[in-house]
């Protein structure tokens, strides 16, 4: 290091930065220092919070510099922000262009000190450790969205994929019941939440974070925070697929989630009733607005399969969703017949894909999963 620079550094290390307990060097307030001939020019960045330190500091700096060899004149410039300092310095360098600068240039010798590094950009998206993030959505509640999310996730596991599941329905989490984790709480390790593991899937649900008896009403900003926490602070293992069970309906939470996760796309769950299809259309519109592709539609409860004789009876007129997807130009992933097993399985923590893998419903879910894999492969 240049002997003059060393001398200046030693002198600056003796100047206290107000009552902060730091010296001037530690405080990192010297943006640049330049010595031209017998004149030293200092540029300080002191934010408004530390304004009161300015006078004492400039006096101390002037005295310190004048005590250094060959410095007779001192110019001190104080600005409030890093950006202002940038501009000041750029203007100054332009002004001096072509001059032969003498002596020390601490800012040229040691960038790390003279110019703090730019802060790292802030990420606003999560779950990048998954190959695909699939949102399972519905225009309204009660159409079997969560059942679809769970059985779809388990069918993907059956296809050999590594899958995680997030219950983003913080208003009415149903994963603990369906996955059989009621009354269990996610472990906290350090600052991280550990997902719960069942049937070969790691998952998170509000129902495993707070007591069921605590009725929590999540209002807008809080809902947002709680979801961001589940995305950010969970020690997700990563894998091929992250399936997110979205809250029913079309609101801010759904859009935020879609954007915070750079989702691959959304699967819309509906029933064949016209009303439900209208709601489904609303959900489709919402995703289109934020450029989330519609991966396809799943139709639930289209028929009843008698557990005794296996006869299939359509409950509503079948195929509404199929026509709808064709008209709207996206894939129809399949319909799932309602079966006693689907309902019972869900209630006992044994989803039908696991409890009755040979059932018509389980087969339907497996076909839907296979189709989804295909759709996603095409998209890539």
């Amino acid at each position: 290091m240049d002997p003059l620079e060393q001398q200046i550094r030693d002198a600056f290390a003796l100047i206290p930065f107000g009552d902060s307990g730091q010296n001037l060097l530690e405080s990192d307030k010297v943006f640049s220092l330049e010595v031209i001939g017998n004149r030293a020019e200092v540029l300080l960045v002191i934010d408004h919070e530390h304004e009161s330190f300015t006078n004492g500091l400039t006096q101390g700096i002037e005295a310190a510099l004048k005590g250094c060899d060959g410095i007779d004149e001192v110019g001190i410039n104080v600005v409030a922000t890093f950006e202002e300092a940038q501009k000041t310095l750029a203007a100054h360098e332009h002004h001096h262009h072509g001059h032969e600068h003498g002596h020390a240039h601490p800012h040229a010798h040691d960038h790390a000190h003279a110019h703090p590094h730019a802060p790292a950009p802030q990420k606003r998206s999560y779950l990048g450790e998954y190959g695909q993030v699939v949102l399972v959505a519905s225009g309204k509640g009660g159409v079997g969205k969560s059942t679809t999310a769970v059985n779809l996730a388990l069918s993907l596991v059956a296809l050999g994929k590594k899958v995680s599941l997030l219950d983003a329905d913080i208003y009415g989490p149903s994963l603990p019941t369906m996955m059989g984790s009621r009354g269990e709480f996610s472990e906290v390790v350090g600052q991280q939440l550990m997902p719960i593991s069942r049937h070969g899937i790691e998952f998170m649900s509000m129902g495993n974070l707070i007591d069921e008896s605590e009725a929590v009403v999540w209002r807008g900003p809080m809902a947002h925070q709680v979801i961001e926490q589940m995305l950010r602070d969970t020690q997700w293992p990563g894998g091929d697929y992250m399936i997110i069970d979205l809250p029913p309906g079309t609101g801010d939470v759904q859009i935020t989630l879609a954007q915070m996760t750079e989702a691959s796309g959304a699967v819309i769950v509906c029933t064949p009733q016209d009303v439900a299809l209208l709601d489904a259309r609303k959900a489709v519109k919402m995703f289109e607005k934020v450029n989330i592709p519609i991966l396809g539609m799943v139709e639930n409860m289209s028929s009843f399969i008698c557990p005794h004789c296996s006869k299939e009876t359509p409950i509503f007129s079948k195929g509404g969703a199929q026509t709808e997807s064709k008209e709207q130009g996206y894939a129809f992933l399949g319909s799932v017949p309602i079966e006693l097993a689907v309902r019972l399985g869900g209630d006992e923590g044994q989803p039908v894909v696991v409890s009755a893998p040979q059932s018509a419903a389980a087969k339907a879910y497996r076909n839907i999963a296979a189709k989804l894999v295909e759709v996603l492969a095409e998209e890539d």
Binding site: Q86, A120, P121, E379, D380
Partner: protein
């Protein structure tokens, strides 16, 4: 529209004299400030139609460095440089496949 492969998705970016970009497949790439600034492909630096380079590299100070930056969607990074230039978006796919860089083994 679906997600780009992990190879082109970025986990973390930070600065300490060079730009560090850590991709989701584990690759850790280092980019030189001056090379990155002079390699800017924005409309001010490269003619949109002819592809002719408009930026005179000599005008970029040797001590150029980022002062701020932000992610652009999931595909790129916009950097505000110390020379006041801030319209360039560095596409992660291009950074990974085309832009000269050094790699650092996983820490």
């Amino acid at each position: 529209m679906a997600r780009s492969p992990q190879k082109y998705r970025v986990k973390e970016v930070f600065y300490d004299g060079v730009v560090h970009v850590i991709f989701f497949d584990g690759a850790h790439c280092l980019y030189n400030y001056w090379e990155l600034r002079t390699g800017c492909t924005c409309a001010k630096c490269v003619h949109e139609v002819t592809g002719e380079k408009l930026l005179d590299d000599q005008t970029v100070p040797l001590d150029i460095r980022p002062v701020a930056s932000e992610y652009v969607g999931n595909y790129g990074l916009r950097i505000d440089w110390s020379d006041g230039h801030g319209t360039g978006i560095y596409n992660f796919q291009q950074l990974r496949d085309q832009f000269p860089h050094k790699t650092q083994s996983v820490d």
